[in-house]
Symmetry: C2
């Protein structure tokens, strides 16, 4: 149930986009690098690595595309803020999971310890909200809608993320976990921030955040998570950057296991607390053998189709339709 | 270097205040209880205990007083937001320190584990910003200044808090720590949020946040921290709720030790990493024997006097002057 394993559909989107999108994304990267450099020795090289390690930048891309070609600095800062919240949760997740590596680099917790990692996460999180208000200040709050909508949206998404994380801890090791509960957790932990990215993009360019764009964000976010959970079972580790069965080892029950148990009841008796790397891999093989993974992939693809279906509406410009479709396809393609 | 050991000057302030202040503080408590109850099983009883365990409510009081008798719901929510940020940092601090007890109750990390405690801290933190924006929504953002100033102020304070925490980790076990570095850390870790409480109070009632009120907040925040660090050395544990020398055991070098080393050079050679409860108590006795604690107390009292001196200016109403003076005195009295 990590949220990082898959490389981005960035290339395809960039090729399809006019110059404005790559230019705007470069500004986002510049700003992230500036923040990493600007915190002096408190932040240290650990957070700098996190901030500049690249990653998919899927959420900032959604912000930028949903804001459109005429959006300005306020949108760039909103994109930065969304990415900062995402990175803060990654850093804290890694503390919880004791993850040694992310994106091929040592995690903050692995290289600097738990204390530094909690602090770095808190710092990234705080910076996200500071970034949104400096955006408002830059553009002249009074005229342009003042950034308050973005703060409301992002803070609400951050609340959802934390609740999702707590739900995951609460449900750990429970192989009788209901599918609905799993889906609710994905909604909180992953889909909500994708939704917020889309809405914040709209708001930051002075447009209303429509229900359609919110639904689009949620659908691709959920599909993204489903496919990420499939990858945890299939690997290969060289591609995912983590061992197969990492979720199982953490006690995190995901849809592949839930559906596999319906087909192979004995899987419910696997003692997740007693797993080691070898037995976790064997459990992955058993899950795969049930055919449950295809069912999860089908659901994810159906979600992507629903998301693309939402785009055929006049809430979207032709450019948005094209770029958001590519983003949606990219979420699936990277897994096929 | 904990921020919780001292009971509040609430009683004296309440007696001096007209009905509006106790009424407003009761609204803050009600709202905190509402938030604790409203998160369902994700938040769980652990965070509920944290939210409703009482504590000094010193920061919310500052918000309320600086906003004044005519302030409304937006101020109450600002007070709630400041307290939520404070509590989030306490919950995360306890993870770092492995603290078993706070305010006489088991900490979140002790009762629910590290994962839950990181999640609860993140949740409280996110709720703080959500609270500020719902305040703006309630009051009608356009007319009354929209809460964006409060978000800017609180997020900036939260950045400072995280930087202070990281600085403290970075400096751990370094008995050659310079006084300036220690003071800088206190400014980030404690004084900044007191300052923000004062400014946010002003902003939430549509008044500008003056430099004087900011300086007042910083001065009492710093004095508060100095005296808290003295209490860590003196105890008694029945009053502070933690063992003497807890800071030393955590490797946290504070002003009492820095000044004591100037008077007893051999203290610089104490191996903080090798301390246990008994040797930490003995180190506390050695620090006390140098007379350094009186010097720290004197500095704290001087800070309180400077803070009160700032009140003799027409930026403050007579009511504010009276109540803020009592708050300032309360910070010292509780330690004498």
């Amino acid at each position: 149930m990590s949220r990082s394993a898959v490389p981005p559909p960035v290339t395809a989107v960039m090729e399809a986009a006019d110059d404005w999108l790559p230019a705007r994304l470069a500004e986002v990267e510049r700003r992230l690098a500036e923040l990493a450099a600007g915190h002096g020795r408190e932040l240290g090289e650990h957070a700098e690595a996190t901030l500049t390690a690249g990653g998919k930048r899927l959420r900032p891309l959604l912000v930028l595309i949903c804001a459109g070609p005429t959006a300005g600095d306020r949108t760039v800062r909103a994109a930065v803020a969304v990415e900062l919240v995402h990175m803060a949760t990654l850093v804290h997740d890694d503390v919880l999971d004791g993850a040694p590596v992310r994106r091929g680099r040592p995690t903050v917790v692995a290289s600097a310890g738990r204390g530094a990692a909690i602090g770095v996460g808190d710092l990234l999180f705080s910076r996200a909200f500071a970034e949104l208000t400096s955006a408002a200040a830059t553009e002249g709050a009074a005229e342009s809608g003042d950034g308050d909508g973005e703060v409301a949206e992002l803070s609400s998404a951050a609340v959802a993320l934390a609740r999702g994380e707590l739900a995951q801890r609460h449900d750990a090791y429970d192989t009788s976990l209901a599918e609905e509960r799993y889906l609710h957790r994905c909604a909180l932990k992953t889909a909500r921030l994708f939704e917020a990215a889309c809405r914040v993009g709209r708001l930051s360019s002075g447009q209303p955040g429509s229900d359609r764009i919110a639904a689009f964000g949620r659908e691709i976010g959920l599909s993204f998570q489903l496919l990420d959970d499939v990858l945890d079972v299939t690997g290969p580790p060289e591609r995912t950057g983590k061992a197969r069965g990492t979720d199982l080892l953490d006690g995190t029950v995901t849809l592949p296991l839930i559906l596999a148990i319906r087909r192979d009841h004995d899987l419910a008796d696997v003692d997740l607390r007693g797993l080691d790397a070898g037995s976790a891999e064997r459990a992955c093989d058993r899950i795969a053998a049930t055919g449950a993974l295809d069912e999860v992939r089908d659901r994810a693809r159906a979600g992507i189709e629903r998301a693309k279906g939402l785009l055929g509406d006049d809430s979207f410009t032709p450019v948005e339709r094209r770029l958001l479709s590519l983003i949606a396809d990219g979420v699936v393609e990277r897994y096929s």
